[in-house]
Symmetry: C2
Subunit: 388 residues, 2 copies
């Protein structure tokens, strides 16, 4: 088994780019990641690429070969799609290829254009992550689905809209100095609570925005890094994936996410760690409640306790367990296919010490990335470790 090292990372700033194409965004992220790695383009063995709604946003399927060309490489290239976990499953495939020795150098990336869609079309596009027959056609949108989960959580364990708001306030605060974030703007609990309700109890500021952007990482094997003297301070030591039913109605509980539990359990076992070892995380906070469920599914908080912990400041940059120091999906933005890759870009920079928020975690060595699709019908977890 080869050790999987992160040789380079790159992202576009996340935001609104009506004038840029998907291939243009990905070309930038890949160029930065490849330059950061110092690995010659010609050494790259394959491209694992995540994208969700490109067929709707740009009438463009078959983006694997297209993005390989945009990155300036002529190599086997495949698109992976697991809704909002598309980037995460692409990453997992690249990690497996390096772990098993199938490839020595893998370019992993993701891209999404969302803001060129009208809100109606974006909502319809995102709804394709849910069960068309039993959810979407019945009028369930994603804010609606997560609102059901939030309502069930508060019914079962208590908590308030203010507690949920703490998650969004924290993530906006974390993004203040992150130039790659879509929103570098402070918000207050009152802003969140007073915002228009989207699907009760979730308001506008409980939800992540529509975002354009791309991210990429260059993974190399241990043997490659040694032979070519490539600087790889961060390793991906664990990877796991879990699956659940698409439709909420088919699940036994709305307040647990077994797909995350399975992905985390496999990733921790792969890395040989327990949740206690984790110093910081990027988790999939498409809605405030999603961050709460993620932290419980990942085994970092007991079921029913993560909302209170968030409200008490545990997960802020100066709390015990900083979560989403990038700003998360909420403030950094959520270009769907890029998100799972972007989490690893941000964690790498945080662990390497060249992130705006690195000071908050200067003793950290173990980080976890958690990317989810749909209402966590797909979940992918990766463990990153710094050698410092």
């Amino acid at each position: 088994m080869q050790s999987v090292r992160i040789a380079g990372v790159g992202s576009t700033a996340f935001g609104v780019y009506p004038e840029r194409t998907g291939r243009d965004l990905f070309a930038e992220a890949a160029r930065v990641a490849i330059a950061d790695s110092g690995v010659p383009r010609t050494d790259i063995d394959r491209l694992c690429y995540g994208n969700f709604v490109g067929t709707i946003a740009e009438q463009q399927g078959h983006q694997g070969p297209l993005m390989a060309a945009a990155a300036g490489v002529n190599i086997p290239a495949t698109r992976y799609e697991s809704a909002c976990a598309s980037g995460g499953v692409a990453l997992r495939s690249g990690v497996e290829a390096v772990q098993t020795g199938t490839a020595d150098v893998v370019l992993v990336g993701g891209m999404e254009r969302m803001t060129n869609l009208s809100t109606d079309r974006a909502t319809a596009g995102l709804a394709m992550a849910a069960d068309d027959l039993y959810e979407s056609r019945a009028g369930v949108t994603f804010p609606g689905a997560y609102a059901l989960m939030a309502r069930a959580y508060i019914d079962e364990f208590g908590g308030t809209r203010e507690d949920l708001a703490a998650v969004a306030v924290k993530n906006h605060d974390h993004a203040l100095d992150n130039d790659y974030a879509q929103f570098q703007r402070e918000i207050s609990v009152a802003d969140v609570v007073d915002a228009p309700i989207v699907a009760d109890p979730l308001g506008l500021y409980d939800a992540c925005p529509l975002t354009d952007g791309a991210s990429a990482v260059v993974l190399v094997s241990d043997r490659y890094a040694e032979r070519h003297d490539v600087n790889t301070p961060i390793a991906i030591t664990g990877s796991g994936q879990g699956t659940d039913t698409l439709a909420l109605q088919d699940r036994s509980s709305l307040v647990r996410t077994p797909a995350t539990e399975r992905a985390a359990s496999d990733a921790y076992a792969d890395a040989g760690i327990t949740p206690n070892a984790v110093d910081l995380l990027e988790v999939h906070d498409c809605f405030t409640i999603a961050e709460v469920l993620a932290l419980e599914g990942l085994g970092l908080y007991d079921t029913g306790t993560a909302l209170t912990a968030a409200a008490e400041g545990d997960t802020t940059s100066d709390g015990e367990l900083p979560v989403n120091l990038s700003g998360g999906l909420k403030a950094k933005g959520h270009p769907v296919g890029a998100t799972g890759v972007s989490q690893v870009v941000e964690l790498s920079k945080l662990l390497r010490g060249d992130h705006a928020n690195s000071d908050a975690v200067d003793d950290a060595s173990v980080a976890v990335a958690h990317n989810a699709g749909g209402t966590v019908a797909s979940a992918v977890v990766h463990v990153l470790e710094a050698s410092r």
Copy 2:
């Protein structure tokens, strides 16, 4: 490195199913494949699944978890998309997982519903496999793109519409006894040549149809087969993937398919064979010219000679090198995401001796499956070998 064995195969009959959902089609194919394998559902480690236009045909993305549930398994499940090679890349990922020991039992499958789309929407959906900026918006459809390739081929190497027609006539002939084929109907060279022109020189019968259907295979490792006494007469001994630019205009030649050449070269090297060893093939004949280009890219005919060989009957069931004994995409049908998996279903049955056309290849032991996406911007090749 584990040997990859085919434990079971299954398909729906290919055809037109307005009354069936995608999950229903896939459930049937998976059920048949799992039953054929004798492997308990609970032993399956992951699902690798191919689909192309589900977001258009059924407003359904995120089909990995959906199809895992349809197959009755709760396991990590990922959708792969490389246009018409979606099934092939899903298969390749499953093969790699077993080869490397990452998984012992993988369910690989693919599904597509095409016939519920109007011809206009299906054409627009398929066009998403091409370059939206530089081809689709300029009016290039897939029949148009392949017509350019056919015209270039005939200009450079000679040949006639009658020669191309021989490919379609042969594939219809092969499908006559295949109950899984969409068309079990003889056609003549005159039928092909007299059919309405779609894009000169290609007519209606040079093109494969729109099709609904699903296919699945159960792959197991050698160690699993031995421990569980699973009957696995066929092995997948080689796998390769190649990529090219999406847009034809970016290529140096319209009559060569470097993605197929790369995929074949890697698959043969993996299997330790040369093209001479190949006894029969299923290749991606979305248009008659595509079969010709495939056979040359696979190294079975020199460039510029496969069209003549087809016209002379080399590739018929009683020729030297039977090609598309299933009926191919032309007559068996082309439910896009299923096609790359279906080729392996058909070849397995042919090699096992339980296919309607097995008699034509009763001495055969080495078979090749070739699945292509777009105008061969993606190609995937697998080598199957029978132990007989």
